[in-house]
Symmetry: C2
């Protein structure tokens, strides 16, 4: 056993020897049970120190390649055959290229100056100074207390909700919280979702191993009649602003929903995802304010602050909160403590309120520009706009008997990206024909004018 | 219908009127179908402008309390009964008080000066300037490309792993990733976990709706014989440093594990949670480096950076990555984009490497102090230390036939918090009697000396 130390390159000798011996054992050159030279012999034959050999042997012992017998020396272990895997080449990762559209009505990106960079940065710095523990301690399972406290104060002021902060659970996005709801309700439960609606919601529930049923939506939201007799453990909906139709569930149907939940010992998952962006009048009161024992209220900061921010929360009825405390608060929080404290401070100092007000005004005005551009376009007399005064999208209904899919395809070929409401339908539904979704937050006014011309021409062909 | 405008307090008139009418409809004072005064009449009788009434009526229409009939005016809707819920008092949330122990051997908190505050803060500021898009765009489902790229370079350098960054999935903590594994393997799968081991791991898998079996661990790690015929779809283990025993799985058994996975079309979930903290020699090579097609490698930044940081990652074999791409990349990333870019820059600039090296040296030295304190204490001749040169804990074995539970209770009464290895056993196991776990990262040396005296005295009684 003599290894050429010249070949070790920049590696330390002990590491080089460790690799050589390991390799000889893996390839069978040194056989199981074979005695190795004593440390002294080995050192002498290679002209190195005993300590160096000792380090190499120690590593091989730790990993199980060799073993020591007292007073007899070191022996090669039986590793059970030859195993060598060739090194693969690493493939460099390419950042996903996004197609550059003239106008992308599917995008919900936000514009650069809509995120309050300097304020956020200031609050981060202050949090780093004031709340050093935000980095050192594992945050509580349900989220740090100050964040829950300020969320509850915000909800009291803006949603008229009187919430016990102890019933708030903070998590890394609403999708994560949907998964937690499945665990709390149990894997044998079934959840009803809206049709049409965000298909992702049903997909998340189903990916978590439970059944979903789709309940049709009419102009007043989810049809409660269809819910009856469904055996659903919960129904997931957005009563203040349905996606994609934009409708608001009127108070009578809200009471029917609550009554259904009471009668069936079921729950309503109230997804209040963009209630902050209602452009006239007051925000619509929540279902949770009618009966907090039957409603799981849920909201996110991704819509109001920035899409990249992964902080959402839900409010559990006391009965479900009890289940969480008994069975699931062993979970670690999914949001970095520092981020939670930063957001808590951002709300506490009034910046969140100011930001939402600024964004609401900004979007109201921006939306009016977009709507004016449509009204001034030749396409206007062929369409109806259903806008409902809320949120970052509205519906453009085309009053011609076109083939919707062909129309979408034609626009795509002209660099315009757009969705139909039908794409969000699980079951075919005639009521949603010729309806197109306009997400306007990432649309530039000038581009829009060109796009409207193309869209009008595509109707003429 | 005449409302006393004096009573409106600081509320705008339209909001006050909206509340009054809404309340009258909810309490039945205004009956379903009842005609409301015209906007003009109402304005005149209250001495206010028509616009104000219009605003109040508009909000009531949106929420479904009243409806308009063309040319006939406004009517109260049928809300289906009376529903009023009293406001509950908000209970202020108390930050959870942690018991103050003399010494807490269960805690894995880290000490203040171990987190690189100023460097992290510098990198955050730079990220905010250079990567403004990190806030504006939703991060890719599997994590942003630069972070995956730098993780793969780090693994190449420190773990000898040649990884395609496209197979890395970043998530909000390992527990979240366990849940994702369940979805990828399917809810009918079964996962084997170590006994003894972190009980939380089995709990997470079971909470996600699948079955777990416990496989006994001996001095060389998980017994592969017990795994055979188990029908497990995957086995979850920490081969480089088992918790709590500290053992390292030797190479022969590693090959047996890989062979088992190959023979049964199963997977090994390699939880490499604290491999960075091996205090002598090199880090133990990973199972993933033997066969990347059979191993899901997993690690977290919570252990190396700070417990509050919720960023972990896993590397999927190509076959499972395909399942993820086909079925689960609709999920939003669970880690805020800005945090991902900050960490990517922190690794890129060499700070992560420097930090780990600093911490490894720090813990090595700190551990030696702790071990010396034990050696100098009168308890030393009654115990054996099984330390294995790695990680932030070691095992103290007491060579007396004590009742372990009573001993723990006695220590608790003396303000010392400590766990037994037996607490981490699912099935009773005689082999782990009288073994206690010493997490030393949060222990102060001075307090330790006092604690050792108490622990020694408690053995004498």
């Amino acid at each position: 056993m003599l290894y050429d130390l010249e070949k070790r390159g920049s590696h330390p000798i002990y590491e080089y020897l460790y690799h050589c011996i390991k390799n000889d054992i893996l390839t069978g050159k040194i056989e199981p049970g074979e005695k190795l030279p004593s440390k002294r012999e080995f050192a002498k034959s290679h002209g190195i120190s005993v300590i160096t050999v000792e380090n190499a042997y120690a590593q091989l012992v730790t990993e199980g390649y060799i073993f020591a017998k007292e007073k007899r020396g070191y022996f090669a272990g039986d590793i059970g055959g030859k195993y060598i895997q060739g090194k693969k080449k690493r493939i460099p990762v390419a950042e996903k290229k996004r197609k550059k559209w003239l106008v992308d009505f599917k995008s919900n990106h936000i514009l650069y100056d809509s995120f309050p960079f300097s304020t956020w940065s200031k609050v981060m710095r202050q949090t780093l100074l004031d709340q050093e523990n935000s980095f050192l301690e594992s945050p509580e399972s349900q989220g740090v207390a100050p964040l829950r406290q300020y969320i509850s104060m915000h909800l009291e002021k803006y949603r008229g909700l009187s919430i016990d902060p102890n019933n708030i659970i903070v998590g890394a996005g609403t999708e994560y919280l949907y998964g937690l709801i499945v665990q709390i309700l149990g894997h044998s439960s079934m959840i009803a979702v809206e049709d049409p609606g965000h298909k992702k919601i049903g997909k998340v529930y189903e990916s978590n191993g439970i059944r979903c049923i789709r309940i049709p939506v009419d102009r007043n939201g989810l049809k409660v009649e269809a819910l009856k007799g469904s055996n659903a453990s919960a129904v997931h909906l957005s009563p203040s602003h349905h996606f994609p139709t934009g409708c608001v569930v009127p108070v009578a149907r809200r009471h029917m929903l609550i009554q259904w939940a009471r009668d069936n010992d079921s729950y309503i998952i109230e997804d209040d995802y963009d209630s902050e962006f209602r452009f006239s009048g007051k925000p619509i009161p929540t279902l949770a304010s009618i009966d907090e024992e039957r409603v799981i209220y849920m909201n996110t900061f991704s819509k109001t602050l920035a899409p990249s921010i992964r902080i959402a929360y839900m409010i559990l009825p006391e009965k479900l909160m009890k289940v969480f405390r008994e069975k699931f608060d062993f979970y670690s929080s999914t949001v970095t403590g520092f981020e939670q404290y930063t957001l808590a401070n951002f709300i506490r100092l009034g910046y969140y309120e100011r930001h939402i007000n600024r964004m609401r005004n900004y979007y109201r005005e921006y939306r009016n520009h977009i709507l004016t551009a449509i009204k001034e376009s030749p396409i206007f007399d062929k369409v109806t706009i259903e806008e409902e005064n809320a949120g970052l999208h509205f519906i453009l209904k085309i009053n011609r008997d076109i083939d919707d899919e062909q129309y979408v395809e034609k626009l795509k070929n002209n660099n315009i990206n757009i969705s139909t409401v039908a794409e969000y339908c699980y079951n075919d539904n005639e009521n949603f024909k010729h309806q197109f979704i306009i997400n306007y937050s990432a649309v530039q006014e000038e581009d829009l004018k060109k796009a409207l011309e193309i869209m009008n021409r595509a109707l003429e062909d």
